[in-house]
């Protein structure tokens, strides 16, 4: 695809998402959001179905553990199941 001059110029001016300080701000924002969800728990009134839900921050730690466990299982399985791209013959596109 031929690039126009305008596009090349646009490339040179760094996108705001490329600047490290903005990325750092995004990170801080994310951590603040995490903290806020925990704080917000004191102000809402859930209707738990199960006892386990009443443990403090259940959704937070359960989400973290479930996600970490999934990545770990996937990593283990990848050692078994990984195959080269053209395992079933060449792709033609």
């Amino acid at each position: 695809m031929p690039q126009t001059n305008a596009m090349k110029q646009a490339d040179k001016a760094t996108h705001w998402l490329d600047q490290p300080r903005h990325i750092q701000r995004l990170w801080r924002g994310f951590l603040v959001a995490l903290a806020l969800t925990i704080v917000a728990q004191f102000f809402v009134h859930p209707h738990p179905h199960f006892d386990v839900e009443s443990i403090f921050g259940f959704n937070a730690w359960f989400g973290f553990i479930a996600c970490a466990a999934t990545v770990a299982v996937a990593k283990a399985l990848s050692l078994l199941l990984k195959r080269p791209e053209n395992y079933y013959g060449q792709r033609d596109d």
Binding site: M7, L34, G63, F64, A66, C67, A68, V71, K82, Y87
Partner: protein
């Protein structure tokens, strides 16, 4: 029937067959207008049997309305509208008509009142979808289409056997709720589950769908698996086995999607995972659970359609399809990036998206039924889902490192199609009552409460944190992975090779043995009847008369002693 009601599905099928006859401009108009008309007609179908006729000894009902069938017919027509709009630039003249036959058949299954009608349109879906796949034109698509058709014909034969058995046993063709209590009903269940992408044959999905064209996959993702969910809701609500099958599918889909490198295969594995959620809902079988399964089918078509349109745009504009070959596209494709993020948030069931509105119902149903382990597993899956799509796809395609690619945004018609679906993804999350009003059972459920939103945000954000912390683990993990299709792409061909070689060898041995045996026989004959052999010599008259004398004497003796 009192008033004449047009069959929306049949109209779409007939219209699709006429599409190739039109010139370019009217054809483009018809591709958008026809499914819109069908969508309007779906809402003309009243409750109860509308078309009824006699076929052989049975009363068949090709058109029957209910809240559930209208819900599915609505989303199928919506998908045909957006898919048609998206595919206006498709060069293949076969793809869109085939996709409309496919969509029309799916709508007809949703509006079918009896098992014979279900079966007929079930098979037409297989034909339509195979043609969509085939129309991509490459050798890979052709062989994938063949494998795809094989699986679906197998499923069709099993379903046909089951329906025949059911009719023989009950004498009725009506499509009523069943239990897996006889061989016939098991066969019907298996036939349905094959189309739902259930194990062990689920690999047909990731094998076939990503081989279609950039627009073909969008159509393929919507109809087959969701029709299967629909017939399971009608045929097997509350079958406990489905809970476990669904849970297996959820985690199978999540893990494979996490490992996969091809961006559309990631999404296709995610289809299996989300259909798993729906099937768990069908298995739980309460009114809330059935509502959840139906609602999730509806919203899943929206956000998965949106995501496949966005990835289709990326593939069309860059010609690349792997996570590892893309990156940094947000610079030149910001709109597509926004659509992808909206689709990914909806897929992750982020608050104020359609995915949250529907997934919450299934979890709620598991909680209401006090199924602690099912509920915990659903929560774990809900936490892990954002990994592969919510974070991974937008991250690798649009952010991550800069791949140096500067593709343009896709054409306007494609952007509009994505806009419609992105709007619906957000609208149904913000006003879930609009979706809930369409569901088969009325329910009293408040989705956007502070408690629901806070707990869902906790779950998703902390899962994202885990993903970010463990990101180094994912390095070098993206690849093609082995799936069950290995059985019919490697194992079966290898086995048939072994059998063929074995038969060859045995044949050779047998031939040698028979040659040897016939040689031996010939030698024996030669020895006794050959030129100089005793039996072939000319004997003297004297000898002959002696032997005649001996025979006559023997005869005399026998006669005397008798």
């Amino acid at each position: 029937m009192t008033d004449f009601v047009i069959h929306p599905g049949l109209l779409l099928i007939v219209g699709a067959l006429l599409l190739p006859l039109l010139r370019e401009a009217p054809r483009r108009f018809a591709i958008v207008a026809l499914p819109l008309l069908v969508l309007a007609l779906v809402w003309q179908v009243p409750d109860g049997a509308v078309w009824q006729t006699r076929f052989l000894d049975y009363t068949i009902t090709p058109l029957q309305g209910s809240k559930l069938s209208r819900l599915f017919a609505t989303i199928f027509s919506l998908m045909a509208v957006a898919g048609g709009l998206y595919a206006l630039g498709q060069k293949s003249r076969l793809e869109v008509p085939a996709a409309f036959v496919y969509a029309g058949s799916a709508i007809s299954v949703a509006l079918a009142g009896d098992l014979i009608t279900v079966f007929i349109f079930w098979e037409m879906m297989a034909v339509g979808s195979t043609l969509v796949l085939w129309s991509q034109g490459s050798a890979n698509a052709y062989s994938a289409a063949r494998r795809y058709l094989m699986i679906h014909l197998l499923g069709g034969v099993i379903l046909f056997a089951g329906i025949t058995g059911h009719i023989v046993q009950t004498g009725s063709v009506a499509f009523e709720p069943m239990q897996p209590d006889s061989i016939a009903h098991w066969l019907i269940l298996i036939g349905f589950l094959i189309n739902a992408g259930a194990p062990p044959l689920s690999a047909w999905l990731p094998d076939a769908y990503p081989q279609a064209s950039w627009s073909g996959t969008v159509f393929l993702s919507a109809f087959t698996t969701k029709t299967a969910v629909y017939v399971l809701i009608r045929g097997f609500p509350g079958t406990e086995l489905l809970v476990w099958i669904g849970l297996f599918m959820i985690f199978y889909g999540v893990i494979y999607a996490l490992l996969e490198n091809d961006i559309r295969r990631v999404l296709v594995y995610s289809i299996v995972s989300h259909v798993g959620f729906m099937i768990v809902g069908v298995g739980i079988g309460t009114e809330m659970a059935i509502n959840g399964a139906a609602a999730h089918a509806f919203s899943h078509i929206l956000y998965k359609g949106l995501l496949l349109m966005a990835t289709g745009s990326v593939i069309l504009m860059t010609g690349r399809r792997n996570c590892t070959e893309l990156g940094g596209l947000f610079r030149s494709m910001p709109m597509t990036a926004v659509f992808t993020v909206i689709g990914a948030m909806s897929l992750s069931a982020f608050p104020f998206t359609a995915g949250f509105a529907s997934k919450a119902l299934i979890s709620q149903a598991a909680g209401d039924s006090h199924l602690l382990y099912v509920w915990l597993l659903l929560m774990a899956a809900a936490a892990a889902a954002p990994l592969y799509a919510g974070v991974k796809l937008p991250w690798f395609i649009f952010f991550h490192r800069d791949s140096g690619l500067r593709p343009q945004e896709p054409p306007a018609n494609m952007r509009w199609a994505m806009t419609i679906f992105a709007f619906l993804c957000l609208a149904l999350g913000i006003w879930p009552q609009a979706l809930y009003a369409l569901l088969p059972y009325s329910m009293d459920y408040e989705l956007n409460t502070a408690a629901h939103i806070v707990s869902q945000l906790q779950l998703l954000l902390f899962a994202a944190l885990a993903f970010i912390v463990m990101r180094p683990w994912l390095k070098n993990m993206l690849a093609s992975t082995l799936d069950a299709d290995w059985a019919w792409r490697r194992l079966l061909p290898a086995l048939s090779q072994v059998v063929a070689v074995g038969m060859n060898r045995t044949g050779l041995v047998l031939r040698r043995a028979s040659l040897h045996a016939s040689d031996h026989l010939l030698q024996i004959i030669q020895r006794h009847l050959g030129e100089d052999a005793k039996l072939a010599r000319t004997w003297s008259t004297r000898g002959m008369s002696l032997w005649v004398l001996v025979l006559l004497l023997g005869y005399l003796l026998l006669y005397y002693f008798r």
